[in-house]
Symmetry: C2
Subunit: 584 residues, 2 copies
């Protein structure tokens, strides 16, 4: 902590909101002494590692395969990951990575399908002391252990690496859908100024199966987007062209994970400003002096059009929220020339009036835009009576609008909820799930700060991200929800901790945008979920009961009952299932 | 102080924002002991007093005339004041006042022309310790002496008076213009439960001269109005019908003093929120997402129409301000859904753009409303370069608009200023004053917290209010300006102190509305100024040089050179001139 503070103050001021090169923080964890590094057979070494491991920065990596070759298997259209580790006992200047095209005779997977990244170290913390999750305030950072952890996949093309450090390298190949089946070979080359280039060969075996493009995936993924964080971090005016330019690649990265739902905020601080950058209303409400309301949809429209047309998200437009944690509803007041708040709770006349008038106009507008079918009024868990009242107001003023909830399971209102995401550990009763399917309703689950396992904190084991998705499949949910994907803390490239909740809870895509081990492993789970769906359909059509049973056996390791076992060793069931899916 | 705090807390909580009956605070000043009160020839006494005196609450009044009759002299159309004092050594319940019509044979001045008031006691403080004025912060009230002072003229019709207290009574007769000259007689009756009514006869001698109605007065009075204070104190929504209902009598009281100029605010906190209730913009500015501006005049129009048509103020519409003390200019921003600020100083491009675009639209709007001739862009004293830049922007974008300044005298810009009010003690050079008259420009002076004398703090001597106006006449100014007439502090009916400046600086009209000794004596000065103008014209037309010279002699006591003498004894020159004006 002392060191990181030093970086933030005095002469060593860290660059604010970096987008390009940046220096990592440092920690005070024990590190291998020079005597350990001196045992290296060469000053710099490079080997294939595992995507399950967050290699430590200050230690000679252990548990490596010792072999220099690697075979990955992929369906056509699938993305596959690998991790290599370099470690050095001398300073390296301008370390850089390259992979050419992958070749199989005359057939190639082009170099443009390959991404290489330096895996960068960010500050993380830990679970709560009782090991029971990561919720609660953490303003006093000294109360939690802090350490550097390998998570972010950098986009910078060169990096200086200090002596006595490990530097992991991430490899991702997105096999084009039109690739011919067969084994493609290439090598990863790592060079640096004054260093003889090191290489690691690898091959990708492309099977004859086709994974559809993410836009066609059936798994319902909802990771909430935060446009306000992007404007702040990139220091661009909200909703300006520069803001959309900054958001475009972030949101495309998310679309490439199969995201289709758009997060929209229709009031000030729908979540009481719980993120570093609070959400504001994308819809303006002006109360004229004569008491009439004027609603403005310019920002909302621009955001939805951008996400739909430019990013390609054609799913729900989830509007937060009619029942925020703090029941204060904003508007611009012509009389006072100020933003004012209506303080009203569901059930109050003022609540019904504020929302009723708006919802009628909103429906009119959505119909005009052709978005009425897609738009939902979205709620978080609130007292039952409040949720019921909100539903009543929607039903009365805008029965066309869908309603969603992320919260606990409540039998009283489940049939009202077009989309219902329930907390990890809770289940839709079988007949309810069936009835919801019959009604065309979507039933998912979510994780947040509550879960010690599975989770995607920056200190969570990489395989947990895949486990999280496979849990949804195993338990028969239609998808998975997480409340934040880019709600960046103050200094997200260097420090994943936040004033509340365990580090990394608020984001898995970094500014740049930069992916993360967590985000890539989440995509792996999403791909596997899609592959399971495809294979199950095929097996069912063919009457391959043995294979269906075998699939169920694999999936049994991701059920609620398997959590204790999964927490001890999430990697094994994930990789066993992953490999099986490639064999079938 | 301890007592007043006790009133505000615990079980003895004072009624918040009273409009009707209320209890006065109390002080810890020395008071006459029972032995003094026991010398009273009767348990309750009533005598005519003087309008020059703030009678002490806790003392047997001294210096009374001892006679029970009173003769006032008035022009037709003039208002005349008198003060009686009641003092008692027993508790009085439901004290009440009455005056019937004033009679002269068959001729009458109707009872409706007569006002009677209990003079109420409010908490005041004192000048700064150096005796040099009342400017500066006073948050720590213990640093200034505090005492009750008779100032407010209550509108409540009954009052309980405790034993061993004085209770002054104010009488005002507004002689109707159509009154026949002659002596009118009536009596003031004071009664209370279980007390034999006490009476004081009085007469008003009406001369044959006519004082025009206040709307026709030539003296340029500008006391700044604060609509925001009214909304807060009356607890009514800003610009609602209830708000206008509350303001109507306040503003009419001011119009009856000859006020014609309307105070309008065209930005947030033109004076950096220096009053208890800061001014906000009466004009809305919405910055659309596409960068265009939309200006809203609904509030501005409603205020100006109200003041013009309902209250009868047909003078300047003074718009504050383009160069506020804090150079932050507000607008409602569609992108962020919040009120934002442009931070720009005169000379900046952003300043010229913010104001230039607005002023063009403002001129268009004012022309439509027929107000272009009346409207001014009003400034306070700012650095010369800032004032020049602001003038440049007005000249460039809206040359039709008049410009006003209240500040120090600056020869560099005086010709640009249609209305120019300079600080007490400063003078327009004779040739400049003449040139300004020739150009039809108005030249006045102002007082504020700076002046130990003359002033209208609640502890100022009542005659100072009249002296202030007569000073303007004596020095050849066209009028007088004061920056506040109803910028009420937190509890204006009970406590005239404010967090800054000597008590009473911020208001002379109380909620209710209630007049004050200060306000009535100011009107006396204004009437005398008008009478001087009329008489001078008459004397000049008649070539009555002796009378003109005599007038100048009277007025010499109100010149700057006469301040030391005036401070010692302001009453004598005021009353001598007043009487002379009635004799001529």
């Amino acid at each position: 902590m002392i060191v990181s503070l030093a970086l933030m103050t005095g002469t060593g001021v860290a660059q604010q909101n970096p987008l390009g090169a940046f220096e990592e923080l440092t920690d005070t964890k024990p590190r291998d002494g020079k005597e350990v590094w001196d045992k290296m057979p060469a000053p710099v070494q490079l080997e294939w590692g595992s995507t399950d491991v967050r290699y430590k920065k200050w230690n000679v990596p252990s548990g490596l395969s010792g072999t220099h070759s690697l075979r990955l298997t992929a369906w056509k259209g699938e993305r596959v990951n690998a991790q290599a580790v370099l470690w050095t006992r001398k300073d390296l200047k301008n370390l850089r990575l390259s992979v050419g095209e992958l070749k199989k005779g005359k057939d190639v997977i082009p170099a443009s399908a390959v991404r290489t990244h330096f895996v960068r170290y960010v500050m993380t913390d830990e679970l709560n002391k009782d090991g029971q999750g990561g919720c609660g305030h953490r303003e006093d950072k000294t109360q939690w252990d802090s350490s550097l952890v390998a998570d972010m996949l950098d986009i910078n093309k060169t990096l200086d690496v200090k002596a006595l450090c490990a530097q992991p390298i991430w490899l991702n190949v997105w096999v084009p859908a039109e690739t011919q089946a067969g084994v493609y070979r290439a090598k990863l080359t790592v060079s640096a100024d004054g260093m003889e280039a090191l290489t690691l060969p690898f091959e990708v075996k492309v099977t004859n199966r086709l994974l559809p493009a993410p836009q066609a995936w059936k798994f319902d993924l909802d990771l909430w987007q935060n446009p306000y964080a992007v404007a702040r971090y990139y220091q661009v005016p909200l909703w300006s062209e520069a803001h959309f330019d900054a958001m475009r690649p972030v949101m495309k990265m998310l679309a490439d994970a199969g995201q289709k739902a758009i997060t929209a905020s229709i009031m000030h601080k729908p979540w009481n400003g719980q993120t570093q950058d609070h959400f504001d209303s994308m819809i303006t409400r002006i109360k004229r002096l004569d008491g009439t309301w004027e609603f403005g949809y310019v920002v909302f429209d621009k955001w939805v059009e951008f996400m739909t047309e430019e990013v390609g998200m054609h799913g729900l437009i989830n509007c937060y929220t009619m029942i925020p944690w703090a029941l204060a509803f904003d508007y611009y007041d012509e009389a006072t020339n100020r933003v004012q708040f209506v303080y009203a709770k569901p059930g109050d006349d003022a609540y019904a009036e504020y929302w009723g008038v708006f919802l009628k106009d909103f429906v009119r507008h959505l119909r005009e835009k052709g978005w009425l079918e897609r738009t939902t009024i979205s709620m978080d868990e609130r007292p039952m009576e409040a949720m019921r009242e909100a539903i009543r107001v929607v039903r009365a003023s805008a029965p066309e609008l869908k309603i969603t909830l992320a919260g606990n399971y409540h039998s009283e209102i489940e049939s009202d909820l077009y989309y219902y995401s329930i907390a990890f550990g809770q289940k839709f009763p079988a007949e309810v799930k069936k009835a919801r399917e019959a009604r065309g309703q979507v039933s998912t689950y979510y994780t947040c700060c509550s879960e010690a396992f599975p989770n995607t904190f920056t200190f969570s084991r990489p395989a947990e991200a895949a486990w999280t998705i496979l849990h949804a499949v195993a338990e028969g949910y239609d998808g998975y929800l997480r409340w934040a994907v880019n709600s960046w803390p103050v200094d997200p490239l260097r420090d994943s901790r936040f004033r509340t909740w365990a580090a990394g809870d608020t984001y898995s895509i970094y500014p740049g945008p930069r992916s993360s081990i967590r985000f890539e492993r989440l995509i792996e789970g999403l791909q596997d979920a899609e592959k399971i769906r495809i294979l199950r359909e095929e097996f069912a059509a063919k009457g391959a009961k043995g294979k269906l049973r075998r699939m169920d056996e694999f999936l049994s390791h991701f059920k609620l009952e398997a959590v204790p076992e999964g927490r001890k060793n999430p990697e094994e069931p994930v990789s066993e299932l992953h490999e099986a899916l490639n064999r079938w």
